[in-house]
Amino acid sequence: MAEKHLMCGNEALSEAAVAAGCRCYFGYPITPQNEVTAYMSRRMPEVGGQFVQSESELAAINMVFGAAVVGARAITTSSSPGISLMQEGISYIAANELPAVIVNVMRGGPGLGNIGPSQADYFQATRGGGHGDYRTIVLTPASVQEIVDHVILAFDLADRYRNPVLILIDGVLGQMVEPVEIAPPPAADLPAKDWALTGCKGRPPNKSRSLILGENELLEMNRRLQEKYRAIEAAEARHEAVDAADAEILLVAYGSPARTCRSVVRKYRERGYRIGLFRPVTAWPFPSAALAECAKGASAVLVVEMSAGQLVEDVRLTLGPAANVLLLGKPGGEVIQAGELEAEIDRIIGLHKMKRR
């Protein structure tokens, strides 16, 4: 289906999972991602796949665990409170080095919060989330088409690195409708799943476990994991830069706020101000080297996020204490309006007496 279709982010991500060859969906309803569960309940039977509405998020993530360990492509989706419930399972999947795709359509928190769009699960996503020294690859699409592309990418990255991949979407992106193209991806060159538990007739048995009690064994396992994470950091950091090369003010944002930033950048560029946008496309690995390069000439770096100050920590970690890193953060499931952003940019322009070119 290479023609354009109108789909909301949640429906598009569901169809993209089908296009990526995923035949296992397990999930529990929660707003604002319910369209995924609804779509998959109809679509999975059509393509000979498995749809299970689980009794809880804990069950859903452990069903993904079970499907992954036998070599199947599996996905679960939820929203913030549900993703919190899945953290134990994600830690186990990471420890067992299994591929899995998890989508978080974030809503306002903490606690049960509200159903408004939010980005307040950035810390949870990028710092592991569950217990133990592990990482999940984190993709942050900013359009319905990019959601589709990222779902397909996520399954490949999960298989390539035998690691859980998390896709972070906010409620706006899950609900909004845009034209999309969904085509079955060309076959990626991925390693064989010779580790899968598929019955060991004619071969030595495989095993998958995360309880590792022998002396130094867990240390060795952790060292191996860390080597893998360094390899992922070296190869998979992604970003997009818009008018960043000569920017005096550099905006940093991901997901739907990055869209607002992009239009504001265009507006201020037309007025002659040197302003740009840096958009992390992977939140882990964080594209530090690229950000450092883009921010070189900036006298102010303004981080724009629908949370109280989470992305800003990675930006400060990257640019160091000497950099002028500012925050426009809005928590509580509320959207950042272009007007609020422009007021902050005008304040910075005034403060630094920036001139039009």
Binding site: P32, I115, V172, P179, R259, V264, V335, Q337
Partner: protein, 197 residues
Amino acid sequence: MEEERIVIAGFGGQGIMFLGKLLCHAGMLDGRHITYLPSYGVEVRGGTACCNVIISSEEIASPVITSPTTAIIMNTPSMIRYEPEIVKRGLLIVNSSIVDRHPKRKDIGVVMLPATTIADRMGNTRVANMVALGGFLSKSQIVKTETVLAAVGEVLPPYRQHLAELNRRAILEGKAAADAQGPDAIWSKITRGFGLG
């Protein structure tokens, strides 16, 4: 830049979402950039339903509308909520069969369209949304009427295809009624522009 930021609001069950999706689909067929964002989550039948539709000649930043260029209003609570938000020289389409008051604004174009009455006369009260859409097409050139008519069949689900022709006729009835109405005292003072404020 040509851009319409359209808020469509009314009661749940009035076909607010269908109207929005149809406009978007037509916008896409016309080669425009489009976004559609429904209000979601806590809606109930008879409660308020609302969607945000942006149709633009350029890439769209946020799908969330704060200053609509057009509001298509199907009930009184939505009129109270959205009339003040419309940009100057914007457009307000009112289902005057149901909305019990006149707009206060003098700086916007207003079409008072008895959409539900027209729909009832056509034999199906549920196409009042299409009558209102016709009112919009009478005053805005952001999508072609032919494209909207063609899109009806594509947006209706298979089990509703028998209603396609009725929906098309309702659009044309609404457009004719709005054509006959303007330019009125308010409308004559207003030059309809795109991409305002």
